[in-house]
Symmetry: C2
Subunit: 403 residues, 2 copies
């Protein structure tokens, strides 16, 4: 059966450095099929659909699309809208009004759920329609997938950021705390260990949302590392929480806000700054610094992983193939088939939508303050090549004055 | 005259992504001269000298030195010590004890001053000695120099960071504030404009320490941009100060600390967070975000400028040539000779030491909230090549439902 009609592509959720590869992959692959009459793009994800904000991607030159593929962030723009049933019905009505027969939505587990609900309306209405979710998230937290497009490049940024700050910390020693994105899954924070080469390279400690965070234990850990190396570099996930599940950022910030009697919003650098002052006030360390990597992590043009780029492109192309060749619905998922190789499958939307994948236990050390070799073996291929780092190996000169 | 003896190389102040190029340039060039008996490195800058903490760089392989040249941050480590006269005398005594005849110190204007004082002691004591300051600072604030090694790479990071966050802000609109290093000179913050391509690209506003900062004017500026584009990306120097010269960070933070009755140190993300909450509380904008780029700026391995790399290497090599061939003291300075080409001169230490170069008026717009084309022409060659960024140009689809 050849389902003739229009394709609609949209991008949802937080942008990544390679999400445009998926969009361009889906668009160019769709344009090859004679039964595709037009390829539309929705501006601002599902929000653009219900507001009928479409553009005609059929009129883009292939050359410009290839340039856009290499441009970070979502060229079709995005939305934080989380559609409920009613919203999804509006989406479906609009798709039907424009005779959209193929819908490709690039996003995380919320986007997968939207695709699932919209597709259910189509089936109920007997409207001939294929809907595919294309995976994307820097958090690497989609079920079924070995890993997700967007993660490799964000991980490359985080790994290189820690290489840089660790070299900086060697030159001017002290305690350094870098706060990495990731509210529930620690994969991105764990990537801080991927460029580690020498045994004393930082980060020396890594705290993930998958393990309860204790300020006391944190302080003891930092002291131990600092006593050993005279310095300590720490990677902390923004989502770390205490044993009751309350985010540390919330517990520490509430205290500040209550004391201040004001409307001070400390969301940006808050957690890092407060952990830094906690170390400064409780350990005898002169130089304590913190940075919150923030929005730099997900769209830095110079930290794109070549592996991530290729895979993001392919999940987009595969979406078009699964829908148009195979007349199927679902979520494109990535599966590791070798060291290192992958293949793509179409998985039921039910299995990918809504839920979050967390770091498996084997990727976290027993103390809950670092990652294992298993994690490094898993994640290292995803970031592509990294520049070589070297240290001096010169012998010391015998002292003649200060013996 | 051929002055036979040892060379000592040291690195001071904040690390940069290319400071090892200068070190390696000085070491390899020195090793070519027969009158150089050994090449020492001081660990931790001047602090390593007075503590007699030397290593023998003569024993490094050329290959490893070339790897180190490409490694960011100071391989010989650094120091924040700011030597006074007594400290400089200790330095001189130690250099004399080890029969150091050539001293190359890579650093900013404080380091130049140290070289100047140590050299004066040598002259007073009739000790045959050549001392050269090799320029380095991401702040680009050394007098006489057209620009300084380290700036180009940090500027590349800042330019690319703003490219990324601007693309991100297009996808999920709001107000974004990025805080850039630079307490007195605004060159690095100004670099936020270097990758701007399309007329509506951010940053839309740039605030520099060279102009008095007014919270009221800032708010009006942000509102105007946000009204026009539905979003606003702002670059702010960490050193912005009010008309009395008081840093904005200090005025806003003092208030918080006083209210809090505590020891809360908000140095890290403080300024950005407080500016963000100020916008949120005073303008009707839903999404206000801020990041403080912090230590990521000066040693990110993937943001090294090829131009910066070459020049950092050459100032190191020229230092050895000026001292050993020409038997001269001074500071190696960079001079622009074409568009784009440079040459190096040896300048009196008096003219480079101590003082700070600020952004000239012609690089700042009349309103004091952006940079001029003159600045972009000046700084663009220094960052080397940047990845191309492209936008979609598809026509909109005529609405059939929501007309």
């Amino acid at each position: 059966m050849k389902l003739t009609g229009k394709v609609l592509v949209a991008q949802g959720g937080g942008p990544t450095a390679v999400i445009n590869q998926s969009m361009v992959g889906a668009v160019l692959e769709s344009r090859k099929f004679p039964q595709v009459t037009k390829v539309y793009g929705a501006i601002n994800g599902v929000n653009g659909i219900i507001n009928e904000n479409f553009i005609d991607l059929t009129q883009e030159t292939t050359h410009n699309l290839e340039q856009i593929a290499k441009t970070p962030s979502s060229a079709l723009r995005s939305t934080r809208d989380k559609p409920d049933e009613k919203y999804c019905l509006e989406i479906f009505d609009m798709l039907q009004a424009h005779e959209i027969r193929y819908f490709f939505y690039i996003g995380g587990n919320d986007s997968a759920d939207t695709v699932r609900i919209v597709n259910a309306y189509a089936e109920k209405s007997d409207y001939q329609f294929r809907a595919i979710h294309i995976p994307k998230t820097i958090d690497n937290d989609l079920l079924v997938n070995d890993h997700t497009p967007g993660y490799g490049s964000a991980a490359k940024f985080v790994a290189q950021a820690f290489t840089g700050v660790d070299l900086d910390n060697r030159a001017l020693p002290g305690v350094y705390i870098g706060v990495v994105m990731g509210r529930h899954a620690g994969f991105l924070t764990a990537a801080s260990a991927l460029a580690k080469k020498y045994h004393d390279d930082g980060p020396h400690l890594i705290y993930l949302p998958e393990r309860a965070f204790s300020l006391d234990q944190f302080l003891m850990d930092v002291k131990e590392v600092h006593d050993q190396y005279g310095r300590c570099v720490v990677a902390v996930s923004e989502g770390i929480a205490d044993s009751s599940g309350t985010p540390i950022a919330a517990t520490m910030l509430q205290q500040v806000e209550r004391d201040a009697h004001g409307n001070i919003n400390l969301s940006g650098g808050g957690l890092g700054d407060l952990l830094a002052s906690y170390v400064k006030n409780n350990l005898r360390v002169n130089r304590v610094r913190s940075d919150t990597f923030g929005y730099l992590q997900r769209s830095f043009p110079l930290a794109v992983s070549s592996v991530d780029q290729s895979e993001a492109r392919e999940v987009g192309e595969k979406a078009a193939q699964f829908a148009i060749w195979y007349d199927a619905d679902g979520s494109v998922t990535i599966h590791r088939t070798g060291d290192y190789s992958v293949d793509y499958q179409l998985t039921s939307l039910d299995l990918v939508a809504r839920y979050t994948k967390l770091m498996p236990d084997e990727y976290i050390n027993d103390k809950g303050n670092y990652v294992t070799e298993a994690f490094r073996n898993y994640a290292r291929p995803l970031v592509g090549s990294l520049p070589n780092i070297a240290h001096l190996r010169s012998p010391s000169i015998t002292k003649i004055i200060k013996k």
